[in-house]
């Protein structure tokens, strides 16, 4: 391993390098990568390396040092890889798809070369730990192996879908990783079920909290009246299933205020009358809605761990979510709500959760679950430290399954 350069940290703190194809916090995956890096920063000097950027260079980004290689992975390369993964997984006759060398080459096209500049950077940083972000980040793995095949590696797969987590082309990442950091139990089960090694696969949850000020500032368009909050991922004028389900709810519950958060507007319905407002874009605005909602119906929960649903539970608001979504785990395992598979069940479940006794039980159980698994930043830091092994050894044992 190359000796530590002047860019590296003092010798008493380990150096961790986080290798992420993109460094952003808009998506759940991007936000999660940032939280993990932040947790590592408590015990190590964290350097984030990304091919993103138009000009190569390094700079401070909060508690991290951000290194941009300025050789971004093109959207077309990522789209081609995602299409291939989905297509091959969907059409394979066997549970584990068979890959030809040509397909493997096609999968890697445009994914490895952008990371070429990371090798020299790793040599100058001399890290003790590399955290690879993304289950399909073969470029980062190639860079790490070219630098030091024995460097400790932790993998943050951010596996939103099982096809990617179990795709055989990405097996080397899971084999190489000394530890795998998963966010939800569903993700952990998928990884363990396919790759084995349960002892090195850790569920780390996420650090979330209920904004206390949200409880005193109700949304002006909906007020503090009992309401059903419907979260969609589509525009107000969209003609699709989510819009139909939202319409069904507002027509079905005319005597209760139904707040529908579209992508481009927020609409509060009561007795067939609508009050329209600005779209809900800031998390503080969403918190003010979640804090006063009787039930949160998330028709488009986040693909990784359904962050909005966990936040809703932290406010004591039960959730109703699609059965085939990551959010179901919070309703089922956390007993914080119910799930539906068709419009009828959607209405029945909302009706059930409007019942005071059912609501109160569900609210209390969901709140306890969310606080236990997602509500403590300190616990999250401990879980990340434990998962990443001796490099960032925690002071006490972590809460992992």
């Amino acid at each position: 391993m190359t000796s530590r350069s002047s860019m590296a940290a003092p010798p008493d703190r380990p150096v961790a390098v986080v290798l992420a194809t993109h460094w952003e916090s808009r998506s759940e995956g991007g936000w999660m990568a940032r939280q993990v890096a932040g947790a590592l920063a408590n015990r190590a000097d964290v350097h984030v390396v990304t091919p993103d950027g138009s000009v190569p260079g390094s700079g401070s980004d909060g508690v991290f040092t951000l290194h941009r290689l300025a050789s971004p992975v093109t959207p077309s390369a990522e789209l081609r890889r995602d299409l291939l993964v989905e297509g091959i997984a969907a059409t394979s006759a066997t549970p584990v798809p068979m890959l030809t060398p040509e397909l493997s080459t096609l999968l890697d096209e445009g994914m490895i070369a952008p990371w070429a500049g990371a090798v020299d950077l790793l040599a100058s940083l001399a890290p003790d730990l590399a955290v690879i972000v993304g289950a399909g980040n073969v470029g980062a793995l190639a860079a790490v192996d070219r630098f030091d095949p024995d460097l400790a590696v932790a993998l943050l797969p951010l596996g939103s879908d099982e096809a990617t987590l179990t795709f055989p082309h990405f097996d080397p990442l899971f084999r190489r990783a000394a530890s795998v950091l998963t966010v939800t139990e569903a993700e952990r089960s998928a990884v363990v079920g396919h790759h084995g090694g349960g002892e090195r696969v850790h569920r780390i949850g996420a650090p979330l909290s209920a904004n206390p000020s949200a409880r005193t500032e109700p949304n002006t368009w909906i007020g503090d009246a009992e309401n059903i909050l419907v979260l969609t991922g589509v525009d107000q004028g969209a003609d699709d299933e989510e819009s139909e389900l939202a319409r069904l709810l507002r027509v079905r519950f005319p005597d209760i205020t139904v707040g529908v958060a579209h992508r481009d507007a927020f609409c509060a319905w009561r007795h067939g009358q609508v009050t329209s407002g600005w779209p809900i874009e800031r998390s503080s605005d969403l918190d003010r809605l979640l804090a006063f909602a009787r039930v949160t119906v998330d028709l488009d929960p986040g693909p990784l761990f359904a962050r909005r649903c966990v936040t809703s539970l932290l406010f004591g608001t039960p959730i109703v979510v699609p059965a085939h979504s990551r959010a179901r785990e919070h309703a089922e395992r956390g007993r914080g709500g119910l799930w539906f598979t068709n419009p009828s069940e959607l209405v029945w479940t909302v009706e059930a959760l409007l019942d005071p006794s059912t609501h109160d039980s569900c609210s209390a159980l969901g709140l306890a679950y969310a606080q236990s698994e997602y509500g403590s930043t300190d616990d999250f830091i401990e879980r990340v430290a434990t998962a990443c092994g001796p490099v960032t050894a925690p002071s006490r044992s972590a809460v992992t399954p």
Binding site: V251, G272, S344, E345, W348, S361
Partner: protein
Amino acid sequence: MEQSEFDPEVVLARLKAEHRILTWEPLPPVKMRQYADGSQVRSRAALEYLHHHWALPDSFDQATAGGGGPKAKVVGLFGRLTYRVLGPYLREERELLSHLVRVNEALEKRCDELVLRCEQLNQDMVDRQAAEAENQAKLALWLNLDPPSTAAASRPSTASAGDGDNASTR
């Protein structure tokens, strides 16, 4: 309900049992029948032939008599005589053939129009069926959601309240 008693699986099972009614779905719309050959004109080749051959010869062609010998002269003489005698009849026949061709042309055009109209009617019928099926599916959903036996007793205002934006009014 006690907190410890709340089990989402149990609640969902109970909800499904409480709302269990006969489910009904509308028939799917029929698929539009496609014509096997996909063409509107079935006898295009025959009509083309008629267009090119309805004009019969109106005089004797000396070349058909062959050579310039006495036999050819006799044949040519009889040929011209025959055409002169039968000329009026042949012209009438040619007029008749031309009208027959025109009639066939008009019939062909009319047939094409009728085929197109039939296809359009068929498409309109399928579209209407699809719209009816969609509307009935919405009605079925509402009936499944709100069994008449329980709706009247528990939620008398639901059907009339709201913005009137429901399946039965569309």
